[in-house]
Symmetry: C2
Subunit: 218 residues, 2 copies
DNA sequence: CGGATCCTTGATCCCTCTCAAACTTAGTGG
DNA sequence: CCACTAAGTTTGAGAGGGATCAAGGATCCG
């Protein structure tokens, strides 16, 4: 749980202080919202188990998936700028999150330099990740997008100590398509083609990467 | 210059402290880089005059414009996560920037709560802006993308006290296309069509919005 | 176990890309 | 200061990647 909630760069002593902040955990059932766009921003979260997606809505009602959060990843930073959440966070499966009250975290960041550093990095990482996703959406073909997505999930799994070759993606084809700026049919066709080419092995939401290098070269 | 560099929420006294940080300004000529992807991250910047674009590169060499920064806007936050810049920042015209050393800024943020708040908001705003741009790239048609872009620039001009109806966009059609995930030809055609429909009036880089509501309804 | 959701695959269409060429603007050097 | 040249823009014609519409099949969860 320590390594999940806020890894890296903190001494044990400092981690203890952080843990006093984490008032509680919360469980969110599949399909339920942890928070919704427009909700007041009070906490940031760390996914403890399960996975979540973030969704942003255009004024005309169109929605797009803007992020995927696996266990160990941070959630809720979209609320900082306006004191209200700009996205909604929905559970892709029954999940639990750690709750970190933002006001208390800010205080702690003023006391402890390494804590401040960690929060800045967290914010900076999301900025870079989103910029990279802008590249995916703006410059890559459908095949390239799907490949990039699979490689991204694979790498994030590896970082968290899970298998990089095999995982369960709880997103639907529609979620993936929304995240990648394409239709669910094109996602499905692309995965089928990857399978025929021997790059992956899929059975519904279970995905196994067979030829990592091949996928990188798509 | 006060209102440009770091507006909002700071007392005069605190602003003075910030100004002691801003060691210097720097001028960047049209086409030159303020920093490049991979450069060590030492400073964040505020555009004082002119305008800049940020560009990110895929490993295969493809580049995409990931951001536009007008006078008064912040720049360089892409370096926080890795201590190296993830993007390059290039001047769209001869420009000047204020230099804010990051290490010193961090110290100041630990001393002064409102300064910490301001930096967090700055980071949070970029997160939300990029998420919104992901929506533009993933969900909107070419017409909608161009309209959304023009409205965004218009609004940012208004916020900075300039005309929301008329402005000089120093980006080329190619830059716009790259930022919006389309080709320069499609950008050009779309602008021509908008002009024929009486929504805007363009002469090269000079753009006047004729029918704001019409543009919103595209 | 049964209904609803999700996935796959096919056929067709259209929006945007690509390639091409002429025109305009802006920056440079004589 | 003007002419020259390179860069940027506009517009057209044709092609293609991905969207849309449709239907059958699989899977999941209550």
């Amino acid at each position: 749980m320590r390594q999940l909630c806020m890894p890296q760069g903190l001494s044990n002593d400092e981690l203890s202080k952080l843990e006093t902040l984490i008032c509680s955990a919360r469980s969110v059932h599949r399909g339920e919202a942890l928070y919704r766009s427009g909700d007041r921003f009070d906490n940031i979260y760390a996914v403890r188990s399960g996975s979540m997606k973030t969704v942003m809505a255009h004024r005309d009602g169109r929605e797009q998936v803007t992020g995927l959060r696996l266990a160990g990843e941070a959630l809720g930073l979209d609320g900082i700028s306006e004191d209200r959440h700009a996205c909604s966070a929905l559970a892709l499966e029954d999940s639990t999150v750690c709750i970190v009250p933002y006001t208390a975290l800010k205080s702690l960041c003023r006391e402890i330099g390494s804590m401040q550093e960690r929060l800045h990095k967290l914010l900076g990482e999301q900025i870079v990740r989103e910029a990279a996703q802008m590249m995916v959406l703006g410059s890559l073909s459908a095949d390239e997008r799907v490949a990039a997505f699979l490689l991204d999930v694979s790498e994030r799994n590896a970082q968290r100590g899970y298998s990089s070759a095999e995982f369960n993606l709880r997103m639907t084809r529609e979620d993936m398509g929304s995240y990648l700026g394409m239709t669910l049919e094109t996602v499905s066709r692309t995965l089928s083609r990857f399978q025929k080419r021997g790059l992956i092995d899929t059975q519904g939401k279970h995905i196994r990467i067979v030829d990592l290098d091949g996928l990188r070269q798509v």
